[in-house]
């Protein structure tokens, strides 16, 4: 077999491993440079104002914004939160998605030069998942929230795969682990566990943080144990989060185990 033949076969393998729906949507998105918005059904619980505020994705306390990702709920409690489609607004330059932002809720009128594509959730998931698995670090990170928002299959298996992929950028994997930690907490029913409301809970939370500052050979085993079995829900959620941020490969296995996946 010549080198040229090998390359052709390898290229074909790459193409065939990308879902057809992802290919067609991807090619439509990058068909021309500029702004394109992709609309698709969002998860049943999710709501937003269509302008950057997103809530009820993981329990009622989590709130995400298009500009900045936050967590909490108090300062957002008066925000309008309406059910509606998920919307990815992507910037395409030189035939490539360079950045993207997610929205949920009412779709505002768009400028005439913004292209709009509406697709089923599964098609959106396939495209978004492909960008996460293969795209540039920036685009892949931007696509994590839109991917999780899709009312499609559970996103965790693919995210676990990306987290284990030695060829994906470290920053992307850190973001992936952050979202996975939310998924794990949601799966375990911890998402709505109250934030510390008394001194003991606050101290537990601080103690977990302090543990993360210890050498990894000490902290990671401690965090694994706490993530698996801590009886205090909010503190367990904290341990799950910090375990993911440790960068230790064992964290992915623990997340998979807690999600009931492999």
């Amino acid at each position: 077999m010549t080198l040229r033949t090998s390359l052709v076969i390898a290229a074909a393998a790459v193409v065939t491993s990308t879902p057809l729906s992802a290919q067609s949507l991807a090619s439509r998105v990058v068909a021309s440079d500029g702004i394109v918005q992709v609309l698709y059904p969002s998860r049943p619980t999710a709501c937003g104002d269509g302008k950057g505020f997103i809530s009820n994705l993981f329990g009622s306390h989590y709130v995400f914004s298009g500009n900045a990702t936050g967590q909490g709920g108090n300062s957002w409690s008066t925000q309008v939160c309406l059910r509606g489609p998920a919307r990815v607004v992507a910037t395409v330059m030189n035939g490539e998605v360079t950045r993207a932002r997610a929205y949920v809720g009412p779709v505002p009128p768009s400028a005439s030069d913004v292209r709009t594509i509406s697709v089923p959730a599964a098609e959106a998931s396939a495209w978004l998942g492909d960008v996460i698995a293969r795209g540039s670090a920036r685009a892949a990170s931007d696509m994590l929230l839109p991917f999780i928002l899709a009312d499609g299959p559970e996103p965790w298996a693919l995210l676990l795969k990306v987290a284990r992929d030695e060829n994906r950028p470290r920053d992307l994997k850190r973001n992936v682990m952050m979202w996975l930690s939310n998924g794990v907490s949601e799966h375990l029913g911890l998402s709505d566990a109250d934030e510390p409301s008394n001194d003991d809970e606050e101290m537990r939370k601080q103690a977990i943080y302090v543990l993360t500052q210890r050498p990894k050979n000490e902290s990671v085993p401690q965090l694994i144990e706490l993530a698996k079995s801590l009886k205090h829900p909010a503190s367990r959620r904290t341990a799950i989060y910090w375990l993911g941020q440790s960068g230790d490969p064992r964290a992915v296995d623990v997340y998979a185990e807690l999600l009931g996946l492999r």
């Binding site: 001194d199 606050e202 101290m203 537990r204 601080q206 103690a207 977990i208 302090v210 543990l211 500052q213 210890r214 000490e218 401690q222 706490l226 801590l230 009886k231 205090h232 503190s235 341990a239």
Partner: protein, 252 residues
């Protein structure tokens, strides 16, 4: 016999007078300047030097810095006291070089380090801001046998300005004061910032007594934020009891 007794009494009196004159001289010489600046110098303890930009370094700070030691000049501690209407209103400390008094400045020369330290500690009891900090630093930089009693006195003085007490606490932690004595200061530290500083200072001792105290503060201090800070510094120690404490706190 009587003459001998009188002679001995005279010697003792002279000795006492000389001591009190000596003890008073510095205060009196400073007090003699109603308005202007009083300049003095005294020997710095080993390992102290000053940078051309006015920075002061000690042997301990060299260790934790990539700063070029060759730029650091050893030399006397130089102190300038600003005087207005018979009161000391400012203190500035430098290391290295010599004073060249100008108009409005009175150079009272080289002072024995222990005497200067004791006097400046007295000043620190009643002057705030950077002046209080500088006065305390000057005490700590003096080549005196043991300045910890003077520093402890400032720390314990609830009427002394906070800056001076804080600085005194820091330097007390860097003296030969035992950790046991150091941790006893905690009970007299009312203000938040002093207790916050205390847990840092104690954490630098890294011995059993220090770890015990950090655990105690992390467990008992009335203020949640102080308990959290004590816990943070506890986590920075290498002591296995720290991890056990943290773990027990999380799981109980």
């Amino acid at each position: 016999m009587r003459r001998d007794l009188l002679a001995l009494t005279a010697v003792l009196s002279a000795s006492v007078s000389a001591n009190s004159i000596s003890a008073q001289t510095l205060a009196q010489r400073v007090d003699a300047v109603r308005d202007g600046r009083v300049l003095m110098a005294f020997q710095a303890r080993p390992g102290v030097c000053g940078g051309s930009n006015g920075s002061i370094w000690t042997r301990e700070s060299w260790k934790s810095s990539s700063w070029n030691q060759n730029d650091c000049l050893t030399g006397p501690v130089r102190v300038s006291l600003g005087r207005a209407e018979g009161t000391t209103i400012s203190v500035r400390v430098f290391v290295g070089g010599v004073w060249r008094a100008t108009a409005g400045e009175t150079d009272i020369g080289v002072i024995p380090p222990a005497e200067a330290a004791h006097y400046l500690a007295g000043v620190a009891h009643s002057i705030g801001g950077r002046s209080g900090s500088d006065a305390v630093s000057a005490v700590a930089l003096a080549d005196a046998p043991d300045v910890s009693p003077d520093l402890v006195s400032v720390v314990r003085d609830v009427n002394a300005p906070l800056d001076a007490r804080k600085q005194a606490l820091f330097w007390a932690g860097n003296t030969a004061l035992s950790t046991r004595d150091l941790v006893q200061l905690y009970d007299g530290l009312g203000p938040f910032s002093l207790r916050e500083h205390f847990v840092f200072v104690v954490s630098q001792r890294r011995d059993d007594t220090a770890v015990d105290k950090l655990i105690d503060v992390a467990t008992r201090d009335a203020d949640l934020e102080i308990r959290k800070r004590a816990m943070y510094w506890l986590g920075q120690t290498q002591d296995p009891r720290a991890v056990k404490f943290l773990r027990d706190l999380v799981t109980r």
